[in-house]
């Protein structure tokens, strides 16, 4: 389980750390080479050297760390995942809970194996306490009165039958609980400290170096994504790889995930901004302070009840108070308000139609005629107007829904495709300018 948890996150952390290391190297190496503005080649070379060196160093460190924290057996020598028993089976067996933990892996020498459990067993309870969520087993093993040598009874579901097993707690199980959580804590703290240090270092760089860093990072990212895209899934150009598979594709996942995680943290920025502004409004009793009070009430209520109903097992029942309040907030306020604001669009379209849809030129007249036909062609009322024309006759194309369909499928399609081409080329040009550090104006020219 430790290996399972450490492995995917390690690749993300390694990648990001290597990039940072490499970019720091831009300043260190770049300073010696004295790169001048407009000489991207040297920047790129410096980045590549630093990334490779950084990666090698970090791989070495992680290998040493892996030796230090050898994979240790999880509590009871099993790994589990959440499992929900089907309603029919729960009814048949008169189960009071549907959530359990299904054993996905078992250590052959572990205490669970010795007690007679097998993989695919679903653990429903331990010493009478329900085990439905992650961490329940290790939490229950730390209970008062449970220690090395204790005999614990496990209630489980095997296939479609209930069963009972007795497991004797071993020393490894008790140690495992603490070491696992300790390792996790250490890993989290270490990565946080590393990131804080890295950002502090970055902040101390002179402005010119920061700008070079950003330019180099942008260039490398552009090279990576375009190379990954144009290199086929399998190509003899990468002769050293097994099956000649594209070596860059497997990095898309971790990079994409890392970007999403970073973007996810920015919601905190938004919340802080809102709290500061509304807090000031209330504090100084500015105009509209009751609205700011409403904001805080809504924020706190949604946060509290949203998290509560998610983690409280009893809240799964539809008539539980927490669930009722949460549904009231979600369906009654959030969903209803969103739909209401969207619906206002209908009224505004009507006023815009009266006030602003002006036929000032011949082209506008054609456009309006086409709009009328398309609108009528979509509604039963319009279809009723030309309903008299036989659908199999020569004049069938004159039925309003057929004219409308032709306008949409031919004229509209061609026009929107043309605009899409223009927008695509425009976006390509802007991306190219940003990639090659040619974009000017706004913040692109500023010192960081």
């Amino acid at each position: 389980m430790i290996v399972g948890i450490v492995k995917p996150s390690a690749s993300v952390v390694l990648t990001l750390a290597a990039i940072l290391f490499g970019l720091l190297g831009v300043y260190l190496i770049g300073g010696r080479l004295r790169p001048t503005a407009g000489r991207p080649v040297r920047h790129v070379a410096a980045v590549l050297i630093a990334v490779v060196v950084g990666h090698l160093v970090l791989i070495g460190i992680s290998r040493y760390l892996k030796q230090l924290f050898r994979p240790i057996a999880p509590p009871l020598g099993i790994t589990t995942q959440e499992y929900t028993v089907s309603r029919a089976l729960a009814r048949r067996l008169h189960l009071s809970q549907r959530k359990g933990l299904e054993i996905t892996w078992m250590s052959e020498g572990g205490s669970a194996a010795a007690g007679g459990l097998i993989p695919t067993d679903v653990v429903l309870g331990l010493d009478g306490h329900p085990t439905g969520g992650p961490g329940d087993i290790s939490r229950l093993l730390r209970r008062e009165g449970v220690g090395v040598g204790s005999l614990i009874s496990i209630r489980l579901l095997r296939g479609e039958q209930m069963a009972e097993a007795r497991v004797r707690v071993r020393r490894a199980d008790v140690l495992a609980v603490y070491r696992y959580h300790l390792l996790l804590l250490v890993a989290l703290l270490a990565s946080m400290i590393a990131w804080v240090l890295a950002f502090a270092l970055l902040n101390r760089l002179p402005a010119g170096a920061k700008k070079r860093l950003v330019v180099a990072a942008t260039f490398v990212a552009g090279v990576f994504y375009s190379t990954e895209y144009f290199l086929p899934a399998q190509s003899r150009l990468v002769w050293w790889r097994a099956h000649h598979t594209n070596p860059l594709s497997e990095w898309l996942g971790p990079w994409g995930t890392a970007a999403q995680v970073i973007a996810g943290f920015t919601i905190g920025l938004g919340v802080i901004n809102l709290v500061l502004i509304h807090g000031k409004t209330i504090g100084r009793l500015r105009r509209g302070w009751p609205n700011s009070m409403a904001f805080f009430a809504a924020l706190v209520a949604m946060l509290v009840f949203g998290i509560w109903q998610s983690y409280l097992p009893e809240a799964a029942k539809p008539d539980h108070l927490v669930r009722v309040v949460y549904n009231y907030l979600f369906d009654g306020f959030y969903v209803a308000l969103g739909a209401a604001v969207f619906s206002v669009l209908a009224f505004y379209i009507a006023t815009a139609a009266y006030r602003a849809f002006r036929i000032r030129t011949a082209e506008a007249g054609f456009m309006m005629a086409a709009a009328f036909i398309v609108m009528l062609g979509q509604i039963p009322l319009g279809m009723w107007l030309t309903g008299g024309i036989d659908r199999s006759s020569l004049f069938a194309p004159l039925r309003v829904e057929n004219i409308s369909g032709w306008i949409l499928a031919v004229i509209n399609m061609a026009g929107s495709r043309a605009i899409l081409f223009g927008v695509a080329v425009g976006a390509l040009a802007m991306s190219l300018r940003i990639w090659l550090n040619l974009e000017r104006g706004a913040f692109f020219d500023q010192e960081i």
């Binding site: 895209y229 144009f230 290199l231 086929p232 899934a233 594209n246 973007a263 920015t266 919601i267 905190g268 920025l269 938004g270 901004n273 809102l274 502004i277 000031k280 509209g288 308000l337 969103g338 604001v341 969207f342 206002v344 669009l345 505004y348 379209i349 006023t351 815009a352 006030r355 602003a356 849809f357 002006r358 929107s416 605009i419 899409l420 081409f421 223009g422 927008v423 080329v425 425009g426 976006a427 390509l428 040009a429 802007m430 991306s431 190219l432 300018r433 940003i434 090659l436 040619l438 974009e439 000017r440 104006g441 706004a442 913040f443 500023q446």
Partner: protein
């Protein structure tokens, strides 16, 4: 397709080379013609009008995060912010995507600083509303009505809320300038706003406002790229309609290249 092929690579190379060559040409000092885009020319007028009326400006940059469209919109934000600072007016900038917030704050502060009016800058004018579409819209409509803004700018990618925002601003009598590459919302902006910048005119905004040779050159390159695509489309259509077996042979040949 998951990966590109030779045909796509060649096409991209042609378009990219066109853009790079025109950028280099423009940088060498050659004069380039850029036709008038009324929507962008009207920006100065709109800011001036708001200042005369003593009412603030509102700028909405759409609902997306730090995408190409938002970056382009931020380029226009900086231009408008500098004008507002110069004339001593307020610019309210409600933000939908939290990633954009720090960038927008930095940008507007720099604009006021560049005009030497850093004391007049109000940090609360750049604020995050909500990342939920309709909550953001409700917030902006509220701001438009409470602040009784005189000029509203919509630059960026908009979804169904375009008409809601434009009609609300119309009610308070604001002058409105819009620019978006979102084809589904262009019709709504066209009928409700005083000036509209559509499609790839939107991507010309930074070139138009700054008149930087690099950006002007890039615009010409874009036109070359579009010409190449148009020529391919016309050639393909003519060939397919005029002589189908030949068109089939050519497609077969391109398939051999992995199309």
């Amino acid at each position: 397709m998951e990966h590109g092929n030779w045909f796509l690579f060649s096409l991209l190379l042609v378009v990219v080379l066109g853009i790079v060559v025109t950028i280099l040409t423009a940088r060498s000092g050659r004069e380039l013609f850029l036709r008038r885009i009324p929507g962008l020319s009207a920006i100065d007028e709109a800011v001036g009008r708001a200042t005369e009326m003593g009412r603030p400006i509102l700028f909405s940059i759409g609902l997306q995060g730090l995408t190409i469209d938002t970056l382009q919109a931020l380029a226009v934000v900086q231009h408008v912010a500098r004008l507002a600072a110069r004339y001593g007016n307020r610019m309210v900038l409600p933000i939908c995507h939290p990633v954009v917030l720090p960038v927008a704050e930095e940008l507007t502060r720099e604009a006021w600083q560049a005009e030497g009016k850093v004391d007049a800058y109000r940090p609360d004018d750049v604020r995050f509303l909500s990342d939920q579409q309709w909550a953001y819209v409700a917030g902006v409509i509220g701001m438009i009505n409470r602040e009784r803004v005189a000029s509203v700018f919509y630059f960026g990618y908009f979804y169904a809320e375009a008409l809601l925002l434009a009609e609300s601003a119309q009610e308070v009598g604001a002058i409105q300038v819009a620019g978006t590459p979102a084809t589904t919302q262009i019709p709504f902006f066209l009928v409700t706003c005083d000036y509209t910048v559509i499609g790839d005119e939107f991507y010309a905004a930074s070139a138009y406002l700054t008149r930087e040779p690099t950006l002007l050159g890039s615009l010409v390159g874009q036109d070359i790229g579009k010409t190449v695509l148009m020529a391919l489309a016309v050639a393909g259509t003519v060939l397919a309609n005029a002589y189908w077996p030949l068109a089939n042979k050519i497609v077969g040949l391109l398939r051999g290249f992995g199309l």
